[in-house]
């Protein structure tokens, strides 16, 4: 099952040119571009690991693309996303986030139904990849 998180996630994977254009857009708006990776695709896992430092002062996407390539070399079988942080007062949050790398095989999620208090049901989402193995050995 294909992970759909962030912008463009229902589209086919972005090409290098499209990634470059998105980063250029973020830089044009003065957003700090970050690269993050994780091997736990659970939707509640909001804090992914940061690759390097946020890139505040770059003028050209080439530097970010270079870092993405470096990150892929190390975490090629994990999820990698690019996010753009807007530091303007009253925004101070992410304005853009999209996945640039995903594992070849995405087993998806299991929906666990727990019957509680008679007929009520609690739902839990579990990632197959994350529940089978410890961090670092998934995918």
């Amino acid at each position: 099952m294909r992970l759909t998180q962030g912008t463009f996630s229902f589209l086919p994977d972005l090409t290098e040119e499209q990634i470059r254009a998105q980063i250029a857009y973020a830089m044009k708006n003065g957003w700090a571009v970050n690269i993050e990776y994780t091997d736990d695709p659970h939707p509640r896992n909001t804090y992914w690991e940061l690759w390097g430092l946020p890139m505040f002062d770059l003028k050209d996407p080439a530097g970010v693309l270079h870092e993405i390539a470096e990150c892929r070399k190390v975490f090629g079988s994990s999820y990698i996303r690019v996010s753009a942080f807007d530091s303007t007062a009253t925004w101070e949050s992410l304005r853009l986030s999209f996945i640039v790398n995903r594992p070849a095989d995405e087993p998806g999620f299991f929906l666990e139904r727990n019957e509680v208090n008679g007929r009520s049901i609690n739902y839990t989402v579990r990632s197959y990849a994350a529940s089978a193995k410890p961090a670092g050995e998934r995918y």
Partner: protein, 304 residues
């Protein structure tokens, strides 16, 4: 484009690029530096023709654009580098045309493993523009074989070779020391395509530069002060630590200071705009540079 692919219009491409504008501006705003301007024109022509050739599919390889600027302090290396970034941007050889000026401190770390990330960070920042390394010879310190400068040099060489379409590196410094630097780092010499030498300014040029500086700051010389200033320039050129246009700027800064003091001391008088703008001869003449018999002190307590 409706023109057939077998012919191109050089004049149109030249006009479209807006390079002419930058070159004219360079001519107007920079005094002297004839050989430098000529070289820049040559480079611009080369790049323009190269761009046309690429449009016709004649060359695939991007040209090597790394340059070295050599010359004495204050001869306009940084200023020209900024214009160069603009020219390269207009011709489409760099994507954003910004200039990142660094020195050894920005590239070389203080302990093992610190240099590579630092250098790479600077290179990332310069991507899409021009990386200007001032006093580049400080990167190489042969007297200390464990110096981390070598590491920065290796990374730079690699980037200059592999990422030629992402950034242009300009190395700058004094001519003799740059020669030594290139001599001991043949890798740099072969990767730098354009060596531009910046000549020292003549007294007349310095005078003109001084007047331009004043005009841009909204000042002007009193007619007597013009003569005094030319005497000052002549005298200053003979003294140690003369830094061309930079010395002139410092001298003018001091003259402005004296002018302000003069106006302040006489503050009961009503001042006109002209009073506020005019620098008088005396403000130049009281300089230590022109003081008889006092050559050791120089005009500047700290030569700049």
């Amino acid at each position: 484009m409706d023109a057939p692919a077998s012919s191109v219009d050089l004049a149109r491409v030249y006009a479209d690029s807006g390079v002419g504008e930058v070159l004219d501006q360079l001519d107007r705003e920079l005094v002297g530096l004839r050989p430098v301007k000529r070289r820049i024109r040559e480079i611009a022509a080369l790049l323009l023709v190269d761009k046309l050739r690429r449009e016709l599919g004649l060359t695939a390889q991007p040209p090597t654009l790394h340059m070295s600027f050599t010359g004495n302090p204050g001869t306009g290396k940084t200023t020209v580098a900024m214009r160069m970034a603009d020219i390269l941007h207009r011709l489409g050889y760099v994507r954003s045309g910004h200039l990142v000026a660094v020195t050894r401190d920005d590239l070389v770390g203080q302990y093992i493993g610190h240099t590579a990330p630092k250098t790479k960070e600077v290179i990332k920042k310069a991507m899409g523009g021009v990386l200007f390394i001032d006093e580049a010879y400080y990167l190489y310190r042969p007297e200390n074989e464990r110096d981390y400068g070598q590491e920065a040099i290796e990374i730079l060489l690699q980037v200059m070779e592999n990422r030629r379409d992402d950034l242009v590196v300009i190395l700058a410094g004094y001519a003799d020391r740059m020669d030594k630097f290139f001599g001991s780092n043949p890798g740099f010499r072969s990767r730098v395509a354009h060596h531009i030498d910046f000549p020292d300014y003549s007294a007349a040029e310095l005078q003109q530069i001084g007047e331009q500086m004043l005009t841009s700051q909204g000042y002007k010389f009193h007619p007597d002060a013009v003569e005094a200033f030319s005497r000052y320039v002549e005298a200053r050129m003979q003294q140690p630590h003369f830094a061309n246009a930079r010395s002139i700027r410092n001298a003018l800064d001091r003259a402005r200071l004296r002018q302000a003091v003069r106006l302040f001391d006489d503050r009961d008088r009503k001042l006109t705009v002209d009073d506020l703008m005019t620098i008088e001869a005396n403000e130049i003449l009281v300089s230590r540079v022109l003081a008889p018999g006092d050559t050791a002190a120089g005009g500047e307590s700290f030569p700049g």
